[in-house]
Amino acid sequence: MDLIRDVLDKEVVDRNGREMGRVDRLVLFVREGAPPRVAAIELGPAVLACRLRPLFGRWAAALEHAFGVDEGRPVRISFGEVLDITDHVKVDLAFGETAAATIEQRLRRWVGSIPRSS
């Protein structure tokens, strides 16, 4: 598997097919005398921004903190939770039970309070 081509930046869906985000960063476990192994995938604006510039990553993290949505973020998903890699990266989790859903749930409260939102 080519990690950059086949995993990084690919869409992540939960076990029910619900969009969770994209693979914004890969966490590798470096072993002495053996090839590195993929330990986890990470999702979230802070890690994505960090890939562009570490400073941008710190700004994004500070913004998340300021808005009170930083708990459990960035989301790190163990590679063992990955069920399948096809057009998407499917993980054995439920979106709503992870911190990936924090911002969506927060906004949903506001959006849902407007008539005819459902």
Partner: protein, 404 residues
């Protein structure tokens, strides 16, 4: 039968949705200053747009990915971030210009200053997006947009010499104001080949669940719809050339452009021009706003779709709402909509190579388009457009300063 209905609706709405603030202003200025001489620029830009739109639809139908999603996945965020940021900024400017265009249309009808209409039009755009599914947005606004056929009717009634029109389809140099001529030619390209249209079309194909067996629908809709749409743009230029140029009226405001309908439509002229401008701009504004939501959601992997209940795609809904608010803020500052339009079409040309280049790779990657890769003609076109786009990107800002 369903595919046939989709095809007819697709073509009709492509025609109705083709003309908006950029195409009206560039074509009207070109006609009033250079007669028919820039018709070739509209023809060339329309063929380019049709080919790119067909590719966007094919990519979506086969790979089930929109253009923005495919670019993120294939090229990564490092490649995407600069054109994406530039495209979103241009979308905000263009959206402000479209809202300004719609506001001027209401001003033409009511006599009340256009600034007063910016906020109500913003609310109307948001309500359409809040209350409607994709079909209503696409087909409803596209069908209303058929009022822009008034430009074709007007050009037809004015009876232009067919030989002169045919001769104008071959590029030629003007006898005066070479820089202005070059600037308008490049602006017509920027106004026609809007990057937002490409992602909007690919996202729409996914919303409508277009699949591999319906590629013929995509191809026919793209080529027929866009080419007839281009004829509407040509109608603007021809009408402007035959009405405004002989009277030495240079279009430096939409109020002046409205005069082009007077000889054909008489007392209905202003009302008809206002309807064509207003509906064209309003439809484009709704599409631009929706596309901003699509782009954010697809790049970051959020739930999206105009057919989803808004609370089930809260980040997508919030994203398009914020972009609309940003455009309203720009509009309320009080920029002249016509100047804003010309600035945004010039900036569109600057980012064109970064928009076209990914097509060259994606349309040859079997992982995305399977056996439907581009042939020699498609690849030659994309390579030529990338090089041409690169050259135009270098000259457009100097041209904007010297000839804008």
């Amino acid at each position: 039968m369903s595919a046939l209905v989709d095809l007819v609706l697709g073509i009709v709405t492509s025609i109705g949705g083709f003309v908006e603030v950029g195409s009206i202003s560039t074509a009207a200025q070109a006609g009033s200053e250079f007669g028919f001489q820039l018709l070739w620029a509209i023809a060339a830009a329309t063929v380019m747009l049709a080919m790119l739109v067909e590719m966007s639809g094919r990519l979506a139908a086969v790979s089930k990915r929109s253009l923005a999603a495919a670019v993120r996945e294939r090229f990564g965020i490092h490649f995407q971030i600069v054109p994406l940021t530039a495209e979103l900024l241009i979308d905000v400017l263009l959206l402000a210009a479209e809202i300004g265009g719609a506001a001027i249309a209401v001003k033409l009808l009511t006599g009340v200053g256009f600034q007063w209409w910016i906020l109500p039009i913003g609310v109307a755009i948001w309500l359409v997006l809040w209350l409607s599914g994709f079909a209503v947005i696409e087909y409803g606004l596209g069908l209303l947009g058929l009022v822009t056929l008034a430009f074709v009717a007007s050009a037809w009634q004015l009876k232009p010499a067919v030989s002169a029109l045919g001769a104008s389809l071959i590029p030629s140099l003007p006898t005066h104001h070479h820089t202005r001529y070059a600037f308008l030619a490049v602006s017509i390209l920027g106004a026609t080949v809007s990057p937002y249209l490409l992602n909007f079309y690919s996202s729409g194909s996914i919303e409508e669940k277009l699949n591999e067996s319906e590629l013929w629908v995509n191809r026919t809709t793209a080529y027929t719809g866009m080419c007839f749409g281009g004829v509407v743009s040509m109608g603007v230029l021809v009408t402007s050339a035959m009405v405004l140029q002989p009277r030495h009226i240079i279009v430096d405001s939409y109020d002046q452009a409205a005069l082009m309908f007077v000889p054909v439509f008489g007392r209905w002229a202003i009302m008809l021009f206002a309807a064509a401008l207003g509906i064209g701009c309003f439809g484009a504004a709704v599409e631009l706003t929706l596309n901003a939501g699509y782009t954010f959601a697809q790049v970051f992997g959020w739930s999206w779709g105009a057919n989803k209940p808004r609370r089930d795609a809260a980040r997508f809904t919030s994203a398009f709402t914020l972009v609309l608010l940003a455009a309203l803020a720009v509009g309320l500052i009080g920029f002249d909509p016509l100047r804003l339009t010309m600035l945004s079409v010039a900036l569109t040309v600057v980012i064109m190579p970064a928009v076209v280049l990914p097509f060259l790779v994606l349309m040859n990657d079997e992982k995305y388009v399977k056996k439907h890769t581009s042939g020699a003609i498609g690849n030659a076109f994309l390579a030529l457009l990338t090089i041409l786009g690169g050259l135009l990107a270098l000259v457009v800002i100097p041209l904007e300063i010297l000839g804008g």
